[in-house]
Amino acid sequence: MLFRSSFYLSLFLILLAPTRILWADNHGTVEADFFDDAPLILTASRMSKPLAESPASVSIIDRQMIESSGVREIADLFRLVPGFIVGYFRGNTPVVTYHGLGGLFSRQIQVLVDGRSVFIPSFGGVPWSNLPLQIEDIERIEVIRGPNAVTYGAHAFLATINIITRHAAEDFGMRYSITSSDNSHPDIKDAYIRVGYHHGDLDWRLSAGTMNDDGFADINDSKEINKLNFRLDMLAGSNQFWTLQIGSSNSINGKGIVGEPRNIERDDEASNSYLNLLWENIRGSTTSTVRLTHVRQEVIDNFTSDPFDIEIGVPPTTVTIPAATVLISFDRLSNRSDLELVRSHEINNQLRLVYGGSFRKDRVKSFFLFNDDAFHDVDTSRLFSEIEWRIDDNWLIDVGTTLEDSSITSRGNSPRLSIIRNIGTDHALRFVASRAKRNPVLYEFEGETVFTVNTGVGDFPVQIWQSNNQILPENILSYELGLRSQFVPAGISSDVKLFSYEITDLVDFVGDPIQAAENRHEARVTGIEISFDQSLTENLEIRSGISILEVDASDQNLKESFPDRSGFISAHYRFKKSHELSTAYYYVDEMSWLDGGFVPSINKLDFRYAYQIDPKSETQIELIAQNLLEEYEDYEPVNIRETTVFLRFSGGF
């Protein structure tokens, strides 16, 4: 209550702040036209805005950060965003969450690749390693820290990640890379090749890659992933742009644990494919886009268990039957089709409007999930609108809402209000109030899991999951007060964010032996997040971030899923034109993943050295060493993260 009151007080103070301390903004002046950067196109609002005017906390991971990090997995990049936690359920299954509530099928983060949602409609979660996307093709990643349902609907609950790949025209020619470690864990063998070309107004890029390693020591969690992506960009008329993207990923992943008869060591096969078609029309100050996407995800994972003992009956009159077996099939197929129309329009110098709508159809088929062979559908319709009002050089108000209607939830809206006050040209103070919801996934709403156990005395159905069509969306109400500052002569940029949010109707899986999803819990999170970047010289850059949380939750497991503190500091140094050194230190307090064990605090240190052999062909060799401090438990105690060293050789022509 005290925290909320302080927010209202702060808002009041912003509104009453004397104008004498405010200096004229440079927006639109001749000198700004000469020396300012062109505004980024930010995910936070679908409007072209400079970072300081974003109606939410935004972190950018740009190409240079990606390259200097040296990481192989896309998920590992989010360690460079304040408040983000990355863990590995298994060596082939990274998990990303913001602040907490992290689990194998985390449902509270929206992830988009070039605007298409890659959220798994059946279970939730994101298949990070198996995404049909190569880290080399990423131009930048925009991360909105906080609810953003007003722009991207349900699931943009705790945070939104928008991964943006490069325009095909930027990748002319051929580029390749080979990555390899010694034979220690994980034994890494990666390769990547890309070809880009153009024909008149048409540019295309074809990229292919393979990623192989054997995961953690003594665990069957290897992966062999092959990816293929094609992108075509075309100019049709002077102001119309077409983009077509298709891609696929096929993988074989180690699963199972020795000594667990119902989770035997085995391999699953997963395939992910997509189509993304975008039309963009720029006419004066109006931009219209139409996007059609289709995402298909299939997992084949079925096996017969080893013999095990099973108790039949209701306690206390149970009978133990030995040597039972069961055919377990986790096979599942999901399809997501999405059609979206967006139009942004500048009404005058002070008002800008963005509005649009979308229709999404999710189809899931899985005997394991629904105990039948039929497709189960969810239709979701969305209308959204957002208006930006630039009152004067110092004040900016952004207000918007999304109306969403889904076949498994009632109609709801997710509004957001943002007030930004420029203080001079170096500081922007923002207040953001936002409400969002997280719709149940299909499994929570209409799942039914029944196994047939084979014993010497007959077959018995054993149900472990039942549907709950009374389940409600989870809700979040969030307030934040932020200050973004920039001191150009010193090369400093920083962002300080004070926040408080309350989540209600949090879903938990309850029941024994038959579980179901129920709205059981609530949590209140308050805290501060700081990011601080400085370019000390043209060749030395430092980035850092810290997140400190205070959590009050109705369930201890939920509370422990939020580490009290996390942070990072990274440095990148370029010297003698052809040498680069980068290092990064990450810290995460002790915590529990919702489906993992308690893990002690993590201290992780990575290092990268790169030598450019030939600047013209950009041929270079990199030495990357990760986890140089003590071994740590990743996600759960059995996953021991050791030091990993690997080499990468890359070039082009």
């Binding site: 000469f34 062109a38 072209s48 025209a169 150009v488 010289t537 043209e538």
Partner: protein, 310 residues
């Protein structure tokens, strides 16, 4: 190659500047014949220019820094100034309206802005943000070895004899495309320009090149694999191939030179408009690589540009 311009420094320099400003504010009390710098607003470019100016001015020079919005309450400082330097159009216009007797140097202004000032004094000097067209032409030609170059403007002014001479010297054909009052046909004009020229030269005109039109222009040219040469290093970050411009440091150095000449009595203080003497170059190597271009080094480029427009 200097690379994309970003104002960089370090904390030490910032503190140094702050200390210097504090020290000079105190010094002003003892020396009313100071050089008064009037900023239109608070921003990093002005601060960097001031820092450079102070560092390059002769030791005995004394400075006082004011904000344009505070001029009414500090008019006595202006009256007692030795030289007045305005940074930005607002302060130039404000000072011009007061018709001061001292030498006034207006920086961070364009030719169009200077033309709008009602009260010109004989002792005004304007240091322009624009580069001379000759410099843009020489830079474009030597960067890409161009034969044809297109630019878009609201009116198509006749070229001076010097500009025509340089075009002949470079064997470069300059095509100007006139745009009506609105930007409705901007991209169509860009398309036409692309068909008829090897590169687009963007000259400073906020009504044509601004945050709303930039994306369309850059994408249109990029898709057609036509290089864009701009006046703004910010555009280079966004996807233009290169820019030639006078950085805040370049402007500061030029201002310091003028101040030193004034103190030595060698400055011709008759009203005149001059282009910034020093300039910087920014290139986007990623765009160059993507377009299959191998750009010459900055040193060689500077030598060729200076030889051409000498």
């Amino acid at each position: 190659m200097k690379g994309i311009y970003t104002a960089r420094g370090n904390i030490g320099k910032l503190f140094g500047l702050l200390l210097f400003i504090v020290a000079n504010v105190q010094a002003i009390n003892a020396d009313d014949r100071a050089i008064v710098i009037v900023k239109s607003s608070e921003n990093a470019y002005f601060n960097q220019t001031i820092e450079t100016l102070i560092n390059h001015a002769e030791d005995h020079a004394r400075f006082k820094i004011l904000n344009s919005s505070n001029l009414d309450s500090t008019s006595d400082v202006l009256e007692n100034a030795n030289v007045i330097i305005s940074l930005g159009a607002d302060s130039a216009s404000n000072i011009s309206s007061r018709s001061p007797d001292q030498l006034v140097i207006n920086a961070y202004v364009t030719l169009e802005q200077i033309a709008q000032f009602q009260h010109r004094n004989a002792n005004n000097i304007a240091v322009l943000l624009n580069q001379p067209l000759e410099r843009y032409l020489a830079f474009s030609h030597h960067l890409l070895n161009l034969k044809t170059l297109g630019l878009i403007n609201r009116s198509s002014p006749a070229l001076s004899s010097r500009q025509q001479k340089i075009l002949r010297k470079l064997n470069l054909e300059l095509n100007q495309y006139q745009l009506a009052e609105t930007n409705k046909k901007l991209l169509a004009t860009v398309r036409q320009l692309i068909r008829q020229n090897e590169a687009l030269l963007m000259l400073p005109d906020q009504s044509i090149f601004n945050r709303d039109t930039l994306k369309g222009i850059l994408l249109t040219t990029y898709r057609s694999r036509t290089p864009v040469i701009s006046y703004s290093p910010g555009h280079v970050k966004s996807g233009a191939l290169a820019a030639i411009y006078s950085s805040p440091t370049d402007i500061g150095k030029h201002l310091a030179k003028l101040i030193n000449q004034h103190h030595e009595g060698t400055l011709n203080s008759n009203y005149k408009v001059i282009y910034a003497e020093y300039y910087s170059i920014a290139t986007n190597q990623r765009v160059a690589h993507s377009l299959g271009l191998d750009l010459p080094g900055e040193e060689k480029l500077r030598q060729l540009i200076d030889e051409t427009i000498r």
